[in-house]
Amino acid sequence: MSDTVIEATGLRKEFGTAVAVDDVSLTLERGQSLAVVGESGSGKTTLARMLVGLETPTGGTLRVCGRPRPPGRVSSRERRRRAREMQIVFQDPYSSLDKLQRIGGVIEASLDLHFSLTPGERRKRALELLEAVGLAERHATMLPRQLSGGQRQRVAIARAIAVEPQVLVLDEAVAALDVSIQAQILNLLADIRERSGISYVFISHDLAVVHQISEVALVMSGGRVVERGPTGALLSDPQEEYTKSLRAAVPRPGWKPSRRAVSGSAANGSAASGTAAS
């Protein structure tokens, strides 16, 4: 069995006449964490949605865990099988849970869909999963509105890892959380990866976060990949103008906002790499 979990070639997505994603290729090895960086509208969310099958690519091919995923209708059975290959966590922790479903029920529902367990086993496993994401038994009977944003995101992560996927796509999964909670969730994700050997596709606009979570990164702009490479090198020594300007736009001590910084301010971006590399 190959150790490449995602192999995408020339992915393209058009919405009407607009091209959201244009000729994006990427590979993801087992246990690897790949960051996709770019500003709003760069096509990174569309890319994430294509990977998990929420959007049908207009062109290109996608192979997951060695199996091709051609566009077209898919049987329920095949969809459940694909679900065990790749899961997703969305940005908005408020609307990514059904407001009527209790937390324990959320997890049990996905266990129920994928594994044949007795009700007792299912409940036990659900509590284990909640514990694994740092929630307690008492949370199981709560409704989403009784939880904070960070806690809800933990539930979304527990729901995703409940089906034991090979790959977890995190679409701006920490962007809506405040900084200290972000750090907690990033630590949690690092823990989970260490324990399970899961792979991540980490979609983000936040360079500091990307640096913490991923070893390889690709930078997207206008739907295209403009630069790719090891995250550290990419952030400390960007080759492309766009990556430089993206890095220069990160606030830091003594930083002055500028319109799409080019050359001058991007060149003295050592302060940014200093914070990012910490």
Binding site: S76, R79, A83, D98, L113
Partner: protein
């Protein structure tokens, strides 16, 4: 004596606190609920509580006014008006309830299917609804009566067709909004089937809206069915029915016995008002949940 002592109530007396459901309904809503409950109870218990057989003519009681034996007097054939009102609630309310049940079920199914499938299915359903909207409900009822003959089945069929687009339009737009939410996408990526998502997630989340919508439609259905019975195309004599009683009561009223028409008319008005108040309260509740 501290300031706190002065604030504390002296006695142990406390008004009983209304339960959460009643508190949310408010006094008007509570009144409406009580009225409907009373009507419903009377309807169900009509065989027990009605003083007379509603269909037994008694010529000595014909067009009689109120008396201790006949509290609301008799109609043109001497049948007891009070008993007929009690029994009449059955036909007057069961028809509309059936209409609402059928149109809500069909309308919701159409709406969720259209919203989920999108594309051509949605376009076809939406155009179909547009066509149904263009025809007044009463026309459907009249056509159905022309085909099936006068009587309740035809009217129920016609009004069900007439009411379906109202349910479908409201539910469809809410379902379109709801299905955009990430939790639906998450369920999809989890591998849940479309039907599973609609039943487990969409339907429960749309339920308050569907309930509010069908309760307010119930008021209209009561009026429509009563009106059609009044025209002589709905419920057929000698069955007791409020709409029919307004009609026959009008005759009696010109001959000095206004209680039949008054009673039936007033009951229709009260029930419709109560249903509308409840629908409004439930709708408001739904708005607060969003």
């Amino acid at each position: 004596m501290t300031a706190l002592d002065t604030v504390r109530p002296r006695g142990g007396f406390r008004l009983p606190r209304p339960g959460p459901a009643l508190r949310r309904l408010g006094p008007l809503g509570t009144g409406a609920a009580v009225l409907l409950a009373a009507v419903l109870a009377t309807t169900l218990l009509a065989p027990v509580v009605a003083p007379y057989d509603p269909n037994r003519p008694d010529l000595f009681n014909a067009l009689a006014g109120a008396s201790p034996a006949h509290l609301l007097g008799g109609d043109a054939l001497g049948r007891d008006v009070l008993s007929r009102l009690m029994w009449g609630a059955r036909t007057t309310l069961s028809g509309p309830l059936l209409i609402i049940f059928l149109s809500t079920t069909i309308g919701t199914t159409l709406a969720i299917t259209a919203a989920w499938a999108g594309g051509k299915v949605d376009a076809v359903v939406s155009r179909l609804l547009d066509v149904l909207f263009a025809v007044p409900g009463i026309v459907f009822a009249l056509v159905a009566v022309a085909v099936l003959g006068p009587g309740v089945p035809g009217v129920v069929l016609g009004l069900t067709i007439a009411y379906t687009p109202y349910v479908a339009r409201v539910v469809r737009s809410a379902a379109l909004r709801e299905r955009q939410l990430p939790y639906i996408a998450a369920a999809w990526v989890q591998g849940r089937s479309a039907v599973g998502i609609c039943v487990r997630h969409l339907l429960p989340n749309l339920r308050p809206l569907i309930v509010a919508q069908s309760v307010s439609a119930l008021g209209f259905a009561v009026i429509d069915l009563a009106a059609i019975s009044f025209l002589g195309l709905g419920v057929q004599p000698p069955t007791a029915d409020w709409g029919l009683m307004v009609k026959s009561g009008l005759d009696s009223a010109t001959r000095g016995q206004p209680l039949e028409a008054l009673g039936a008319g007033l009951l229709i008005a009260l029930v419709v008002a109560a249903v509308n108040i409840l629908g409004d309260r439930i709708g408001r509740e739904e708005g607060e949940l969003r």
